[in-house]
Symmetry: C4
Subunit: 217 residues, 4 copies
């Protein structure tokens, strides 16, 4: 199954960009045309992930295929797939700089053109939510539905990002940490200059539309 | 002997997660059913560690087997094994962010759900203690006995972490540095939001019990 | 064509020194004796760059050779080549620390002898400029023409660096991030000591002339 | 010649611990029994260093053997070997955190037991000195002669470290950056707790003498 390989392989990007330690982050991908998604098995280290040990769940988060338990964050992924039909990939990390903003409960302000391009403005904060029911999933969907940003900083927790496919969601997670780090450093140095809303809009529009018709930068 | 291989291999995780420079950190593991533990030899670089050059000590820290002197931190490991019978693994590092909190003498406050999961609250500070007798071991045991946290920040020194086996102790050392870094960054940005004690308790309970019955996240 | 290989290979230095994430930075090199330059294709990951998939553009930024679209930053590179005939290489990154200074709109002050050697003083700020026309290229050229520095921090954006060839431009990008990080850390600790203008001049002169006649340090 | 291989290989440790970018740091080693030392060639990248392309200089810094020019820092190394007969190895880097303290002109205070062990107290600041004559060498020797610390932070410049052999000097450079980083982070968090002079003395004495008779930690 191709989506198993895509999801298994994309975890290497989380490792490459230092978004995860131990087994703390996960990628999932919707299986096109079916009410199913592939997700990381729980407690398996990134070195050992293969297409074969990925697990398949239905949109209620029930295990459909696989020998391991699904990631403990499966319910949140499932909620997103159930409620955002255009989403084809979901990523969760506790990446350092983004999680620091999350611990503060502050959105990352849009002071970099790369943020305007990719997120269309600030990266928003989602609610504090406990694991165990649909709270996390609801918080993600409420924050991201209709929002330009493809990433949300869940308060005191970490990042969830979404995309049309798992690769796009991983890209959003990578870019989120990158701008979280740069804006943090800028804030240590002083007060970053704002970008006018008008300019943010122009950058976002161009990046999503002009470049969207060709290949992404 | 299997525990020699387990302990030798786990040092690679200290290197992978940048918890150590030169030869400054060490892992040990209790040999099940015997009053012995395996520990890193002194002054051997991480690249050269093999099951064969690991050393075996008794619970007073005396060398029982091995051609190298045991780690200079052996007395502290031995004290922990003598006084905490459930501990099967001990790790010591000077990892950057955790050691910075240790230099301050301040516990790391629990402002991340991952801390609540893993440490059940703040990561505590142990006393300032000199090497050369049982002071360090005593400080570790006094701080961690009955404490939820599996890691202690020894004042002006570094981290000791414990676990049911060496892998669990390494995981605690890795997670300790990860949250030490994230909370540091959050503190630079402003004042991290606290998590209610009630929520910390719920997260800790769930992570230790519900997930404990399956595989860890 | 040799310049294709040079440009393809130099992208590995951007990765090695953590100047880029995903596909966000690019290197170009002027083809000696022709009004053409080689540049990174758009949206191709650094792992997949080869001499063959590099693209060739004329000095107006039009694609002359290649199966991929050129980098979305091609217009800025082209403007520099058109207006600075001595420039043989251009690099663009969003490297973290340099981009943080750019978000502030503050030049990096010259408080390190390595900066005096390499940049001859502070690293300047260029204007805020939107992608889509020649604004970015104009900002680069206006800032760097006649300036000792081979790197400019484009406000709220990132770094452009230039050199007599692509390798020199990559070196400037690497050194720019290195000093941006060191001076950031120094500023967190307190107030870095200035270097007297006279000493800056002597260091710059020696590095460019005395060592320039042999091989660079 | 064995010292060529030792010196060539040790540069990999500078790379491994991120103490250098491009070609900016260097290691040298005195050839036992001769008034000569081996040093990095100028402008050769770390990937290309071999025992064969190392260069040999006399104690006035004149090239004796080798096809490349010696490192541009050779005069400083030579001055140290001429004036400190017990020194068998010298290392120079612009490592980030140590250079930040150097830009401030502030010694790194001894707030970590690892600093007491290795440096016996604070890491001192040397004078601002220009390249081109013996100023840098004099500054190193004046600062380190009779000092416990094997590393000096040359103001606005970077680190020079010394040792009985090149490996010991590299270890001092690695540990210097490690504690420079940890103490920086501690200072960002608040005011690190001092260690009593008495305890520093005991730690230093034990590390140099008790462990010195066996193998280093």
């Amino acid at each position: 199954m191709n989506m198993r390989k895509i999801v298994a392989d994309l975890h290497a990007e989380l490792v490459r960009y230092n978004l995860v330690v131990w087994t703390a982050g996960n990628v999932s991908g919707r299986i096109p045309g079916e009410d199913l998604f592939v997700i990381k098995p729980s407690g398996v280290s990134y070195d050992e992930l293969t297409p074969e040990n990925m697990v398949v769940c239905d949109l209620d988060g029930n295990l459909v295929e696989g020998e391991h338990a699904p990631s403990s964050d499966t319910a949140a992924h499932a909620y997103v797939y159930r409620n955002m039909p255009d989403v084809g990939g979901v990523v969760h990390t506790h990446s350092t700089y983004a999680s620091a903003w999350a611990a503060l409960g502050e959105p990352i302000p849009c002071v970099l053109t790369a943020m305007a391009d990719e997120f269309g403005g600030e990266i928003p904060i989602g609610p504090f939510a406990l694991i165990g029911d649909d709270s996390i999933g609801q918080g993600i969907v409420e924050t991201l539905k209709g929002h330009r940003s493809k990433a949300v900083l869940m308060q005191n927790h970490g990042v969830f990002s979404i995309g049309k496919d798992p690769k796009a969601a991983v890209k959003a997670a990578v870019m989120c940490e990158d701008v979280a780090r740069t804006v943090h450093v800028a804030r240590q140095l002083g007060t970053p200059l704002p970008i006018a809303q008008d300019d943010i809009d122009r950058l976002y529009d161009r990046y999503q539309n002009v470049y969207g018709q060709r290949s992404p930068r």
